[in-house]
Protein backbone atom coordinates (compact mmCIF):
# COMPACT_ATOMS: atom_id res chain seq x y z
CA UNK A 1 0.00 0.00 0.00
CA UNK A 2 2.77 2.33 1.07
CA UNK A 3 4.81 1.43 -1.96
CA UNK A 4 1.87 2.07 -4.25
CA UNK A 5 1.37 5.52 -2.81
CA UNK A 6 5.04 6.42 -3.08
CA UNK A 7 4.90 5.40 -6.71
CA UNK A 8 1.93 7.71 -7.28
CA UNK A 9 3.78 10.60 -5.69
CA UNK A 10 6.74 9.99 -7.97
CA UNK A 11 4.55 9.78 -11.06
CA UNK A 12 2.72 12.99 -10.14
CA UNK A 13 6.01 14.82 -9.66
CA UNK A 14 7.11 13.72 -13.13
CA UNK A 15 3.71 14.69 -14.51
CA UNK A 16 3.94 18.19 -13.08
CA UNK A 17 7.37 18.65 -14.62
CA UNK A 18 5.90 17.89 -18.03
CA UNK A 19 6.00 14.09 -18.41
CA UNK A 20 2.66 13.35 -20.10
CA UNK A 21 3.28 9.60 -20.15
CA UNK A 22 3.82 9.54 -16.38
CA UNK A 23 0.61 11.46 -15.96
CA UNK A 24 -1.25 8.97 -18.13
CA UNK A 25 0.16 6.09 -16.08
CA UNK A 26 -0.76 7.77 -12.82
CA UNK A 27 -4.39 8.34 -13.85
CA UNK A 28 -4.58 4.73 -15.04
CA UNK A 29 -3.16 3.51 -11.74
CA UNK A 30 -5.50 5.46 -9.46
CA UNK A 31 -8.69 4.73 -11.41
CA UNK A 32 -9.35 1.19 -10.04
CA UNK A 33 -8.88 2.50 -6.52
CA UNK A 34 -11.28 5.37 -7.14
CA UNK A 35 -13.78 3.00 -8.74
CA UNK A 36 -13.71 0.61 -5.79
CA UNK A 37 -14.18 3.50 -3.35
CA UNK A 38 -17.06 4.92 -5.40
CA UNK A 39 -18.76 1.52 -5.46
CA UNK A 40 -18.34 1.19 -1.75
CA UNK A 41 -19.81 4.66 -1.19
CA UNK A 42 -22.77 3.88 -3.43
CA UNK A 43 -23.37 0.57 -1.73
CA UNK A 44 -23.36 2.19 1.67
CA UNK A 45 -25.84 4.80 0.49
CA UNK A 46 -28.13 2.07 -0.80
CA UNK A 47 -27.56 3.08 -4.41
CA UNK A 48 -26.88 0.77 -7.33
CA UNK A 49 -23.14 0.25 -7.40
CA UNK A 50 -22.95 0.00 -11.18
CA UNK A 51 -23.39 3.80 -11.27
CA UNK A 52 -19.82 4.29 -10.13
CA UNK A 53 -18.30 5.27 -13.46
CA UNK A 54 -19.78 8.78 -13.59
CA UNK A 55 -18.34 9.42 -10.14
CA UNK A 56 -14.93 8.11 -11.18
CA UNK A 57 -14.89 10.44 -14.17
CA UNK A 58 -16.02 13.35 -12.05
CA UNK A 59 -13.13 12.70 -9.66
CA UNK A 60 -10.63 12.38 -12.52
CA UNK A 61 -11.72 15.73 -13.96
CA UNK A 62 -11.35 17.41 -10.58
CA UNK A 63 -7.94 15.82 -10.06
CA UNK A 64 -6.88 17.16 -13.43
CA UNK A 65 -8.18 20.71 -13.04
CA UNK A 66 -7.08 21.11 -9.42
CA UNK A 67 -3.71 19.41 -9.54
CA UNK A 68 -1.95 22.75 -9.05
CA UNK A 69 -3.23 22.67 -5.45
CA UNK A 70 -1.11 19.59 -4.74
CA UNK A 71 2.09 20.44 -2.92
CA UNK A 72 4.86 18.53 -4.70
CA UNK A 73 6.64 18.06 -1.38
CA UNK A 74 3.67 16.27 0.15
CA UNK A 75 2.54 12.70 -0.53
CA UNK A 76 0.02 12.46 -3.36
CA UNK A 77 -2.46 9.94 -1.88
CA UNK A 78 -3.96 12.13 0.90
CA UNK A 79 -4.55 14.90 -1.63
CA UNK A 80 -6.12 12.49 -4.11
CA UNK A 81 -8.37 10.91 -1.48
CA UNK A 82 -9.50 14.33 -0.25
CA UNK A 83 -10.55 15.30 -3.79
CA UNK A 84 -12.21 11.92 -4.29
CA UNK A 85 -14.05 12.13 -0.99
CA UNK A 86 -15.44 15.58 -1.84
CA UNK A 87 -16.63 14.43 -5.22
CA UNK A 88 -18.13 11.24 -3.85
CA UNK A 89 -20.05 13.14 -1.17
CA UNK A 90 -21.29 15.59 -3.82
CA UNK A 91 -22.39 12.77 -6.07
CA UNK A 92 -24.26 10.96 -3.31
CA UNK A 93 -25.86 14.21 -2.21
CA UNK A 94 -27.02 14.83 -5.75
CA UNK A 95 -28.66 11.44 -5.63
CA UNK A 96 -30.46 12.61 -2.54
CA UNK A 97 -28.52 10.75 0.10
CA UNK A 98 -26.68 12.18 3.01
CA UNK A 99 -23.83 9.91 3.93
CA UNK A 100 -20.56 10.09 5.67
CA UNK A 101 -17.61 9.02 3.65
CA UNK A 102 -14.64 7.84 5.57
CA UNK A 103 -11.24 8.80 4.24
CA UNK A 104 -10.06 5.27 5.08
CA UNK A 105 -12.45 3.96 2.44
CA UNK A 106 -9.90 5.05 -0.09
CA UNK A 107 -6.73 4.07 1.66
CA UNK A 108 -7.96 0.57 2.42
CA UNK A 109 -8.96 -0.39 -1.07
CA UNK A 110 -7.13 -3.45 -2.23
CA UNK A 111 -5.97 -3.09 -5.83
CA UNK A 112 -6.84 -6.65 -6.73
CA UNK A 113 -10.50 -6.24 -5.89
CA UNK A 114 -12.42 -8.05 -8.65
CA UNK A 115 -13.64 -5.91 -11.52
CA UNK A 116 -17.40 -5.99 -11.20
CA UNK A 117 -20.11 -5.08 -13.67
CA UNK A 118 -20.13 -1.37 -14.32
CA UNK A 119 -22.61 0.61 -16.34
CA UNK A 120 -20.98 2.97 -18.84
CA UNK A 121 -20.70 6.57 -17.71
CA UNK A 122 -23.23 8.85 -19.35
CA UNK A 123 -22.95 12.27 -17.73
CA UNK A 124 -19.87 13.51 -19.57
CA UNK A 125 -21.21 12.25 -22.90
CA UNK A 126 -24.45 14.15 -22.29
CA UNK A 127 -22.71 17.38 -21.31
CA UNK A 128 -20.35 17.05 -24.25
CA UNK A 129 -23.27 17.75 -26.56
CA UNK A 130 -23.80 21.17 -24.94
CA UNK A 131 -20.25 22.38 -25.64
CA UNK A 132 -19.41 24.76 -28.50
CA UNK A 133 -18.79 22.78 -31.69
CA UNK A 134 -15.04 23.43 -31.86
CA UNK A 135 -14.40 22.29 -28.30
CA UNK A 136 -16.57 19.22 -28.77
CA UNK A 137 -14.83 18.24 -31.99
CA UNK A 138 -11.40 18.60 -30.46
CA UNK A 139 -12.37 16.63 -27.37
CA UNK A 140 -13.92 13.85 -29.43
CA UNK A 141 -10.96 13.69 -31.76
CA UNK A 142 -8.55 13.20 -28.88
CA UNK A 143 -10.79 11.06 -26.66
CA UNK A 144 -12.64 8.82 -29.07
CA UNK A 145 -10.38 8.73 -32.12
CA UNK A 146 -7.21 8.80 -30.00
CA UNK A 147 -5.74 11.43 -32.30
CA UNK A 148 -2.73 13.39 -31.11
CA UNK A 149 -2.81 17.16 -30.66
CA UNK A 150 -0.83 17.44 -33.88
CA UNK A 151 -3.18 15.23 -35.92
CA UNK A 152 -6.19 17.02 -34.49
CA UNK A 153 -4.70 20.35 -35.49
CA UNK A 154 -4.13 19.11 -39.04
CA UNK A 155 -7.61 17.64 -39.29
CA UNK A 156 -9.39 20.84 -38.31
CA UNK A 157 -6.86 23.20 -39.93
CA UNK A 158 -6.10 24.75 -36.56
CA UNK A 159 -2.78 25.59 -34.92
CA UNK A 160 -1.61 23.21 -32.21
CA UNK A 161 -1.90 26.05 -29.73
CA UNK A 162 -5.54 26.56 -30.65
CA UNK A 163 -6.20 22.85 -30.22
CA UNK A 164 -4.63 22.94 -26.77
CA UNK A 165 -6.75 25.94 -25.79
CA UNK A 166 -9.95 24.32 -27.08
CA UNK A 167 -9.08 21.09 -25.29
CA UNK A 168 -8.49 22.79 -21.96
CA UNK A 169 -11.52 25.07 -22.22
CA UNK A 170 -13.65 22.09 -23.16
CA UNK A 171 -12.52 20.11 -20.11
CA UNK A 172 -12.99 23.11 -17.83
CA UNK A 173 -16.51 23.83 -19.03
CA UNK A 174 -17.46 20.14 -18.91
CA UNK A 175 -16.46 20.18 -15.26
CA UNK A 176 -18.44 23.35 -14.61
CA UNK A 177 -21.52 21.88 -16.26
CA UNK A 178 -21.24 18.67 -14.27
CA UNK A 179 -21.05 20.69 -11.06
CA UNK A 180 -24.12 22.74 -11.91
CA UNK A 181 -26.35 19.85 -12.84
Amino acid sequence: MREREDEWTGLMRSAISGDDAAYHRLLKAVTPVLRAAARRGLARAGQPVDQSEDIVQDILLAVHLKRHTWDANAPFAPWLFAIARNKLIDALRRRGRRVFVNIDDFAEVIPSEPAAETAPASEIAAQLQTLPARQREVLQSIAVEAASIKDTAAKFAMSEGAVRVALHRGLASLTAKLREQ
Binding site: H24, L60, A62, H64, H68, W79, N86
Partner: protein, 212 residues
Amino acid sequence: METDQLIRTLAADNTHQARPVGVVLALALLAAAPVSLAIFFAGLGVRPDVMTAMHNPFFDLKFAVTLALAISAITLSLHLSRPEASLRGWAWLLLIPAGLLVGGIATEMMLPQRLPMMTRMVGSNSRVCLTAIPLISLPLLAAALLGLRHGAPSRPAVTGAIAGLLSAGLAATLYASHCTDDSPLFVAAWYTLAAALVTAIGALAGSRVLRF
Protein backbone atom coordinates in the same frame (compact mmCIF):
# COMPACT_ATOMS: atom_id res chain seq x y z
CA MET B 1 -17.15 8.70 -23.00
CA GLU B 2 -15.25 5.78 -21.55
CA THR B 3 -12.95 6.35 -18.63
CA ASP B 4 -9.90 5.30 -20.64
CA GLN B 5 -10.80 7.86 -23.27
CA LEU B 6 -11.20 10.53 -20.61
CA ILE B 7 -7.81 9.64 -19.13
CA ARG B 8 -6.21 9.94 -22.56
CA THR B 9 -7.79 13.35 -22.99
CA LEU B 10 -6.63 14.55 -19.58
CA ALA B 11 -3.10 13.36 -20.28
CA ALA B 12 -3.14 15.29 -23.57
CA ASP B 13 -4.01 18.42 -21.57
CA ASN B 14 -1.09 17.96 -19.17
CA THR B 15 0.81 20.79 -20.84
CA HIS B 16 -1.71 23.19 -19.39
CA GLN B 17 -0.36 24.03 -15.96
CA ALA B 18 -2.45 26.38 -13.87
CA ARG B 19 -1.03 29.20 -11.80
CA PRO B 20 -0.72 28.65 -8.04
CA VAL B 21 -3.70 29.78 -5.97
CA GLY B 22 -1.56 32.36 -4.16
CA VAL B 23 -0.75 34.15 -7.41
CA VAL B 24 -4.39 34.20 -8.52
CA LEU B 25 -5.52 35.42 -5.09
CA ALA B 26 -2.92 38.19 -5.11
CA LEU B 27 -3.91 39.32 -8.61
CA ALA B 28 -7.60 39.33 -7.69
CA LEU B 29 -6.98 41.37 -4.53
CA LEU B 30 -4.78 43.83 -6.44
CA ALA B 31 -7.53 44.28 -9.00
CA ALA B 32 -10.13 44.97 -6.30
CA ALA B 33 -7.93 47.28 -4.23
CA PRO B 34 -8.60 50.41 -6.34
CA VAL B 35 -12.34 49.94 -5.87
CA SER B 36 -12.00 49.72 -2.10
CA LEU B 37 -9.60 52.66 -2.06
CA ALA B 38 -12.07 54.71 -4.11
CA ILE B 39 -14.89 53.94 -1.67
CA PHE B 40 -12.61 54.90 1.23
CA PHE B 41 -11.36 58.17 -0.21
CA ALA B 42 -14.74 59.20 -1.62
CA GLY B 43 -16.62 58.53 1.60
CA LEU B 44 -14.12 58.96 4.42
CA GLY B 45 -10.50 59.89 3.74
CA VAL B 46 -7.57 59.89 6.14
CA ARG B 47 -8.15 61.83 9.35
CA PRO B 48 -6.63 65.33 9.21
CA ASP B 49 -4.41 64.96 12.29
CA VAL B 50 -2.80 61.77 11.03
CA MET B 51 0.74 63.14 11.43
CA THR B 52 0.32 63.69 15.16
CA ALA B 53 -1.82 60.60 15.60
CA MET B 54 1.07 58.47 14.34
CA HIS B 55 2.95 59.27 17.53
CA ASN B 56 0.16 57.71 19.57
CA PRO B 57 1.01 54.03 20.05
CA PHE B 58 -2.69 53.15 20.34
CA PHE B 59 -3.29 54.63 16.89
CA ASP B 60 -0.45 52.48 15.53
CA LEU B 61 -1.72 49.42 17.37
CA LYS B 62 -4.90 49.51 15.26
CA PHE B 63 -2.81 48.85 12.15
CA ALA B 64 -0.84 46.11 13.84
CA VAL B 65 -4.10 44.37 14.76
CA THR B 66 -5.83 44.78 11.40
CA LEU B 67 -2.75 43.86 9.36
CA ALA B 68 -2.08 40.85 11.59
CA LEU B 69 -5.66 39.77 10.95
CA ALA B 70 -5.31 40.22 7.20
CA ILE B 71 -1.98 38.38 6.97
CA SER B 72 -3.08 35.49 9.21
CA ALA B 73 -6.28 35.12 7.22
CA ILE B 74 -4.43 35.18 3.89
CA THR B 75 -2.09 32.45 5.12
CA LEU B 76 -5.01 30.39 6.43
CA SER B 77 -7.10 30.79 3.31
CA LEU B 78 -4.23 29.61 1.11
CA HIS B 79 -3.73 26.64 3.40
CA LEU B 80 -7.44 25.77 3.23
CA SER B 81 -7.46 26.03 -0.55
CA ARG B 82 -5.78 22.60 -0.59
CA PRO B 83 -8.31 19.78 -0.36
CA GLU B 84 -6.51 17.72 2.27
CA ALA B 85 -5.96 20.67 4.61
CA SER B 86 -7.71 21.08 7.93
CA LEU B 87 -7.76 23.92 10.42
CA ARG B 88 -5.97 21.82 13.00
CA GLY B 89 -2.58 23.26 13.80
CA TRP B 90 -3.35 26.42 11.84
CA ALA B 91 -6.24 28.13 13.61
CA TRP B 92 -3.87 29.62 16.20
CA LEU B 93 -2.80 32.11 13.52
CA LEU B 94 -6.00 33.99 14.25
CA LEU B 95 -4.91 34.34 17.87
CA ILE B 96 -2.14 36.73 16.79
CA PRO B 97 -4.44 39.71 16.06
CA ALA B 98 -6.60 38.79 19.07
CA GLY B 99 -3.51 38.64 21.30
CA LEU B 100 -2.27 42.01 20.08
CA LEU B 101 -5.67 43.49 20.87
CA VAL B 102 -5.83 41.96 24.34
CA GLY B 103 -2.30 43.22 25.01
CA GLY B 104 -3.40 46.70 23.90
CA ILE B 105 -6.42 46.66 26.18
CA ALA B 106 -4.33 45.53 29.13
CA THR B 107 -1.76 48.24 28.49
CA GLU B 108 -4.43 50.91 28.20
CA MET B 109 -5.97 49.73 31.49
CA MET B 110 -2.68 50.28 33.25
CA LEU B 111 -2.26 53.83 31.98
CA PRO B 112 -4.10 56.83 33.41
CA GLN B 113 -6.99 57.84 31.10
CA ARG B 114 -8.93 61.05 30.64
CA LEU B 115 -12.14 59.32 29.65
CA PRO B 116 -14.01 56.54 31.46
CA MET B 117 -13.84 53.04 30.04
CA MET B 118 -17.37 52.95 28.66
CA THR B 119 -16.89 56.23 26.84
CA ARG B 120 -13.71 54.97 25.23
CA MET B 121 -15.38 51.75 24.17
CA VAL B 122 -18.53 53.35 22.78
CA GLY B 123 -16.47 56.06 21.07
CA SER B 124 -17.99 58.43 18.56
CA ASN B 125 -17.62 56.55 15.28
CA SER B 126 -19.27 53.22 15.95
CA ARG B 127 -21.94 53.61 13.29
CA VAL B 128 -19.45 54.75 10.65
CA CYS B 129 -17.18 51.88 11.63
CA LEU B 130 -19.95 49.32 11.28
CA THR B 131 -20.91 50.64 7.85
CA ALA B 132 -17.53 51.54 6.40
CA ILE B 133 -15.59 48.34 7.16
CA PRO B 134 -18.14 45.99 5.53
CA LEU B 135 -18.64 48.37 2.61
CA ILE B 136 -14.91 48.74 1.90
CA SER B 137 -14.39 45.03 2.36
CA LEU B 138 -17.04 43.86 -0.13
CA PRO B 139 -14.95 44.33 -3.31
CA LEU B 140 -12.02 42.64 -1.56
CA LEU B 141 -14.23 39.78 -0.38
CA ALA B 142 -15.52 39.22 -3.90
CA ALA B 143 -11.93 39.18 -5.16
CA ALA B 144 -10.77 36.82 -2.42
CA LEU B 145 -13.58 34.38 -3.20
CA LEU B 146 -12.77 34.59 -6.89
CA GLY B 147 -9.11 33.89 -6.20
CA LEU B 148 -9.87 31.01 -3.83
CA ARG B 149 -12.22 29.44 -6.37
CA HIS B 150 -9.02 28.59 -8.18
CA GLY B 151 -8.20 26.30 -5.25
CA ALA B 152 -9.96 23.17 -4.06
CA PRO B 153 -11.19 23.80 -0.51
CA SER B 154 -12.86 20.83 1.16
CA ARG B 155 -14.66 23.18 3.52
CA PRO B 156 -16.15 25.95 1.39
CA ALA B 157 -18.02 27.72 4.19
CA VAL B 158 -15.00 27.85 6.51
CA THR B 159 -12.78 29.00 3.68
CA GLY B 160 -15.35 31.65 2.77
CA ALA B 161 -15.42 32.82 6.38
CA ILE B 162 -11.63 33.17 6.36
CA ALA B 163 -11.93 35.13 3.10
CA GLY B 164 -14.33 37.39 5.00
CA LEU B 165 -11.77 37.91 7.78
CA LEU B 166 -9.09 38.58 5.20
CA SER B 167 -11.10 41.29 3.46
CA ALA B 168 -12.32 42.75 6.75
CA GLY B 169 -8.70 42.96 7.94
CA LEU B 170 -7.65 44.84 4.82
CA ALA B 171 -10.70 47.11 4.91
CA ALA B 172 -10.20 47.83 8.62
CA THR B 173 -6.60 48.82 7.89
CA LEU B 174 -7.89 51.55 5.61
CA TYR B 175 -10.68 52.53 7.96
CA ALA B 176 -8.28 52.77 10.92
CA SER B 177 -6.54 55.71 9.25
CA HIS B 178 -9.85 57.58 9.17
CA CYS B 179 -11.23 56.75 12.60
CA THR B 180 -10.38 59.01 15.55
CA ASP B 181 -11.29 56.39 18.13
CA ASP B 182 -7.95 54.86 19.01
CA SER B 183 -8.81 52.97 22.18
CA PRO B 184 -8.22 49.21 21.84
CA LEU B 185 -11.58 48.84 23.59
CA PHE B 186 -13.28 50.56 20.66
CA VAL B 187 -11.41 48.33 18.24
CA ALA B 188 -12.33 45.21 20.21
CA ALA B 189 -16.00 46.15 20.22
CA TRP B 190 -16.75 47.67 16.84
CA TYR B 191 -14.05 46.45 14.48
CA THR B 192 -14.74 42.96 15.73
CA LEU B 193 -18.46 43.32 15.14
CA ALA B 194 -17.85 44.68 11.64
CA ALA B 195 -15.41 41.88 10.87
CA ALA B 196 -17.89 39.30 12.19
CA LEU B 197 -20.50 40.63 9.79
CA VAL B 198 -18.15 40.32 6.82
CA THR B 199 -17.09 36.86 8.01
CA ALA B 200 -20.71 35.73 8.03
CA ILE B 201 -21.22 37.05 4.51
CA GLY B 202 -18.02 35.29 3.45
CA ALA B 203 -19.15 31.98 4.96
CA LEU B 204 -22.52 32.21 3.26
CA ALA B 205 -21.06 33.13 -0.11
CA GLY B 206 -18.22 30.62 0.26
CA SER B 207 -20.55 27.71 0.85
CA ARG B 208 -22.01 28.44 -2.56
CA VAL B 209 -19.15 29.59 -4.75
CA LEU B 210 -16.16 27.71 -3.33
CA ARG B 211 -17.35 24.19 -4.12
CA PHE B 212 -15.23 22.66 -6.78
